[in-house]
């Protein structure tokens, strides 16, 4: 049992994280501070939250790339609703509206994919493009500030040692781990993802599961916006741009397969952590100003190495 886990993708990514932390920590011990760990976790929490939904979608053999633009729209709507300079609605009402909006967009994605049979990459690419434009129009070239204190306190507050966003992320991770591992619903999702045809013959409601996964991803994107947008005093157009790229890359690094059926919440969470570490690690290495220009290449190389190494080792196992 332990032996099998050690050879799993999760163990590989966890090992890579430990290796990175150890290496950077040796060179610059300040990297190992509690403060730094806390900041990295806070920065990673929107990714952790949305990755839960994205993992379900990818396990089902679909993909969602509309999250970043949806986040921008949610942030703009949230700002317009709660800010005293705009609508000035009570926080609970604004939160409700933003979450319903996010879930609603997710639902539309799901219906486009299932009922209208538009391939998911196309449906969500179209949604990404549309929402980017809508977000820009909503912001109308202004900054939106003046989040009420209660919302600010929620986004930057603590419960004991734990920052609020991290707490929300942990709750999501726990809920989705239970969902995927312990419930019949979770088993059905994997069954549909690994063999859609057999699942259909067995009478599993593949379409409904897919609609659910897309709706949840939308809802979680709304949650991620609620914990991250009020961390800033003012928001500007472009909030969340390219977030989808980050989440999909992280889920893939965490071992999910693009053909469906494989992937886990734990793996995706580790993928998010690994990718969140890289930029911070590069700053703590203090490589000097010239090295800044190579950062993106190093990040890309890191992703490439993680993905290729896993496939090479997996192939070797299969051949053996």
């Amino acid at each position: 049992m332990t032996g099998a886990w050690l050879r799993s993708r999760e163990a590989g990514v966890a090992g890579l994280i430990l290796l990175t932390v150890a290496a950077v920590g040796t060179i610059n011990p300040r990297f190992l501070s509690v403060e730094n760990a806390r900041d990295i976790l806070i920065a990673a929490s929107p990714g952790l939250i949305v990755a839960c939904g994205a993992t379900l979608v990818i396990v089902l053999g679909e993909i969602d790339i509309s999250m970043g633009a949806l986040m921008g729209v949610c942030a703009a709507v949230l700002g317009k609703l709660v800010s005293a300079e705009h609508a000035g609605l009570p926080v609970w009402l604004a939160t409700l509206i933003v979450l319903s909006l996010a879930a609603g967009i997710g639902l539309i994605n799901g219906l486009l994919v299932t009922v209208a049979r538009v391939p998911s990459i196309i449906a969500t690419l179209g949604m990404l493009t549309i929402l980017t434009g809508v977000g820009d129009l909503l912001m109308a070239g202004e900054t939106i500030g003046g989040f009420p204190d209660s919302l600010r306190a929620f986004a930057i507050g603590h419960v004991g040692m734990l920052p609020m966003p991290v707490l929300v992320a942990l709750a999501c991770l726990a809920a989705f781990t239970v969902l995927t591992r312990e419930t019949a619903l979770g088993r059905r999702i994997y069954a549909v993802g690994s063999n859609a045809h057999a699942a259909r013959l067995a009478g599993l409601p593949a379409l409904r599961l897919k609609v659910l996964a897309f709706t949840l991803t939308g809802l979680l994107t709304g949650v991620a916006t609620l914990i991250s947008a009020p961390q800033l005093e003012v928001i500007e157009a472009g909030f969340g741009r390219q977030f989808e790229l980050f989440v999909v890359t992280a889920v893939v690094v965490g071992g999910a397969s693009m053909s469906g059926g494989a992937g886990s919440i734990a793996g995706s969470a580790l993928g998010v952590l690994l990718l969140s570490l890289v930029r911070t690690a590069l700053i703590f290495l203090q490589l000097g100003i010239g090295a800044t220009y190579w950062e993106r290449a190093i990040q890309g190389g890191f992703i490439l190495a993680a993905v290729l190494a896993d496939h090479v080792s997996r192939r070797r196992r299969v051949q053996r």
Binding site: N36, G238, R279, T280, I283, F284, I289
Partner: protein
């Protein structure tokens, strides 16, 4: 032969003067191109431009630009406006090199091209509405930091827009030079991009403070990088220990200036900049503004000096706790 050339030149001049005279006061279309549409800074410039157009009454103003700040899209817009036959194109080039061919082509088609906010190649425009040169902006930020620090010494870092942002790179070059010559005890330890994402700016500034515990200052040199960096310092509880300065609209920075995280914000009156740009465009179309002029009557702004081919706005502002409430843009 030479006589013929002179006569031809005189004739062309006369013809163009006649054409200009015929046009003076006629309805014209002015296209105002920002580096990036959707940014509060440019929106407030556009508001000033709108006001000038309204005052003049004979200017149709188009305000449009790439929402993602892509130079290619900006060049495409210039080409489109040239084809549509607008009278004046006022460009804030997000990349002078990429935009130069399109601007030159527009001039060759008879469109008046000026730059505003940031300059392009001299051969790609007739005048530059200059609120401050890249060197002035870079030096002003360094000077503001030095003044805020009291003793200008210690480690400082820059959070920039993207590594390929032409304007920011010009400012960084000026900042490096000014730091080396005027404040040798201030050491620039890092330049990090935030990819025009406020969240990333926030995280990068957090990381910089931890990686360099003796950091004394952060420059946020875009309107996205500055508030992100200020928020990081504020949340780390290090307001006053790590000073943040840079370029942003006062409305975005009021909170940070009032709580002491930011002592000074460097900028100019953006509405005035937009206003002056449209005034210059009108004068150029009317043939009132010609090379060699030394001053320019800019409506409600009064008279502005002209230095060579640059009309100077001449009001680099430093917003502090004392004066920031007087500005609303």
């Amino acid at each position: 032969m030479r006589h013929l050339a002179v006569i031809l030149a005189v004739l062309t001049l006369a013809a163009s003067a006649a054409a200009v005279a015929a046009e003076a006061g006629a309805q014209i279309t002015v296209a105002l191109l920002p580096k990036k549409k959707g940014v509060a800074y440019f929106t407030s410039c556009a508001a000033g431009a709108e006001q000038a157009a309204k005052e003049l009454g004979n200017v149709t103003l188009i305000y449009d630009g790439p929402t993602d700040g892509s130079p290619e899209k900006a060049a495409a817009l210039i080409e489109k406006w040239t084809l549509k036959g607008v009278d004046v194109i006022a460009v804030s080039p997000n990349d002078p090199e990429v935009l130069a061919p399109a601007m030159q082509a527009a001039m060759a088609k008879g469109v008046k091209v000026i730059t505003w906010d940031a300059d392009g190649a001299a051969s790609s425009r007739s005048f530059f509405v200059n609120q401050a040169t890249g060197t002035q902006i870079g030096e002003a930020m360094v000077d503001a930091m030095a003044k805020d620090l009291g003793t200008p010494a210690g480690k400082v870092a820059i959070v920039t827009a993207t590594l390929t942002a032409a304007n920011q790179n010009a400012w960084i070059a000026a900042m490096k030079a000014h730091l080396a010559s005027a404040y040798p005890k201030m050491e620039l330890v890092a330049i990090k991009p935030c990819n025009e994402d406020q969240k990333v700016a926030f995280q990068v500034a957090q990381d910089l403070m931890k990686a360099y515990p003796d950091l004394v200052g952060i420059f946020g040199i875009s309107s996205v990088a500055f508030p992100g960096a200020a928020e990081a310092v504020k949340q780390a509880g290090r307001s006053g220990q790590v000073l943040v300065t840079g370029l942003a609209t006062p409305n975005a920075m009021k909170g940070y200036v009032k709580d002491g995280t930011v002592k000074s914000v460097v900028l100019w009156n953006t509405r005035d900049l937009g206003y002056l740009t449209v005034r210059v465009a009108r004068a150029l179309a009317d043939g009132v503004l010609i090379p060699g002029a030394t001053s320019f009557a800019a409506g409600s702004l009064g008279s502005k000096p002209v230095a060579g081919d640059a009309i100077l706005l001449n009001n680099l502002l430093v917003f502090t706790k004392a004066n920031i409430d007087q500005f609303d843009f």
